[in-house]
Point group: C2
Chain length 335, copies 2
């Protein structure tokens, strides 16, 4: 159990610790044979460098902090996987913390990670923006931070975001072209910027195609399947079911669809559905759900790239990457 240290090796070979250190870092002058001897002995003695000590003396941790709203959400699992893959390969370790869609927890996470001396942070914020000013303050002090998703295009910081407005416009347009005449948008929380952007895209399409205002509606729900179910109950009881729903995400769409099916509605004949941010479940339900797919892996990787660039080059400029997606049309929305 006792860790072998650089000193043990030095003593054993009757050389100095600096030589041993050099042998491992291989960037100062050192004789080839000495180096090889050291490495060989180290191997034999079962030496493993102590990263903690390394961090302390180098004042960098080779750790990156990643803060996500929730890991159980397939989208963010993908983000975690993608960043782990990308950053591990670059020699970094990813510390993941999840905020549980809670701003207080999120701020705690960020502070914990900063205290643990991560070299940089990737933050996918939860709804609300109470913490933004704190993050921006850190950002302006030069702390390497990249925001991912759920931040406004106008935020003055490096970020990777999805073109929500355009793609919800396209998704809505698809429903319009399928001749659905009365279309409702189930939106997420108002204070979540991806929600409001998707609502904007929806509205834009409604206006471009001159929908009379009684034929469309934006209804604030949430992000969970149960919330999709609940809103359907309400709409049914007020006898207000449209021909089609465009939903802020797949979970809401799936919940709403489920409840309508249970009540005897036929999908897509009675009511059509389009979701957003494709989940694995979209293909497992009947009918399969039309949805906007985001290039999640690419977006996460891009965030990693921007962050590493900032870490290695502190004067690098603020960088914003905006991604486009793809509308996967399936049976839930075609006549």
């Amino acid at each position: 159990m006792k860790h072998v240290t650089i000193k043990d090796i030095a003593r054993h070979l009757n050389i100095s610790t600096s030589s041993v250190s050099r042998a491992f870092n291989n960037k100062y002058d050192i004789k080839k044979e000495t180096r090889e001897l050291i490495l060989k002995t180290a191997e034999e003695m079962g030496y493993v460098p102590n990263p903690i000590a390394k961090k302390l003396s180098q004042n960098c941790s080779l750790n990156i902090g990643l803060v996500v709203p929730e890991i159980i959400n397939g989208y963010y699992s993908k983000v975690v996987i993608a960043l782990q893959e990308f950053l591990t390969e670059k020699g970094y370790q990813v510390l993941v913390m999840q905020s549980d869609e809670n701003e207080v927890q999120e701020l705690k996470n960020v502070k914990t990670l900063i205290n643990n001396m991560v070299d940089g942070l990737i933050i996918a914020p939860t709804a609300g923006n109470k913490n933004t000013s704190y993050y921006i303050e850190k950002y302006n002090e030069g702390y390497p931070i990249v925001f991912l998703n759920r931040v406004s295009e106008t935020l003055k910081a490096s970020k990777v975001i999805f073109n929500n407005i355009n793609w919800s416009f396209f998704a809505t347009e698809h429903l319009i072209k399928q001749q659905y005449k009365k279309i409702y948008h189930l939106s997420g929380y108002k204070n979540l910027c991806v929600s409001s952007e998707r609502a904007q895209g929806f509205k834009k399409a409604m206006q471009k195609y001159n929908f009379p205002s009684e034929n469309y509606k934006i209804i604030e729900t949430g992000l969970l399947a149960t919330e999709g179910m609940n809103i359907i109950e309400k709409l049914i009881s007020s006898d207000d079911i449209p021909n089609a729903f465009f939903c802020v995400n797949d979970m809401v769409a799936l919940g709403a669809m489920k409840r309508l099916k249970d009540k005897g509605y036929k999908i897509p004949d009675d009511v059509a559905f389009v979701g957003f941010t494709e989940t694995r479940t979209a293909e497992l339900v009947t009918p399969q759900l039309t949805s906007v797919k985001q290039p999640t892996f690419e977006m996460a990787k891009k965030a990693g790239e921007i962050l590493l660039n900032k870490i290695n080059n502190p004067n690098s400029k603020t960088e914003t990457a905006i991604f486009n997606g793809k509308l996967n049309i399936r049976k839930s929305s075609i006549r």
Copy 2:
């Protein structure tokens, strides 16, 4: 950006660093007023203790390593969340690494975490057992490790597992009592112990209720929805569809169910389904899927408890916790 250190405070107040340290640790003698003065000044100066230095000098990291097969799987997301919650409260930080169902990656993860001086490890192994001997070697050296799930009851190490045999027996029994006469089990990989245990439970039920051997079958598939879909294609083409399927997990069940529905089969009238390890999707499909629910949060927490106990009391004995679940009966399996 420059971190304020204990030294800065000491210099500023014209006292020694040891006093400052004492003020924070509050376990050595120190005068109340000095302590308060120090804490106040520290606050003002924006002092934040450096955990890296602390780790180095205390030779413990207050980090726990958690290795899971894949984070995108809802089951393991829950494990991550549960352990994060439990361990954070106890003052530990959780480093999550995922193995991507790959034994080589898993071994790498474990070694990375050990090198990073985690105080203990919770390992939820992937399929296969190439690495087991390495883990057991470490375990026997006294390294605190707790295995979670997917390990055999006979493994000589601390572990938290689910009673797969009994609960797949109950799940199968439920189908039998619903009068389904021909029942197939879609099993996972043979070398994954939870798969073989669930297959055992299935077989036990078949034998107890004297099913003739032509009326049941164990078919090895995998753990993914696509694998459930594929096996249905095969069975249809060989005209070999039973009255009911008991599946190794929900994803396989959902995939199989989807494909059968697409082919015009009625669920549960033509074919019934029972899954395992309830997913959120189980309630979103039509009909809703009957499934065995595991007490995931409790199991994860128990693993954390056993681990902390081992860390704080190195002589504590090997401990095994076996959990029971609940069969949530839904429409996919009732006539």
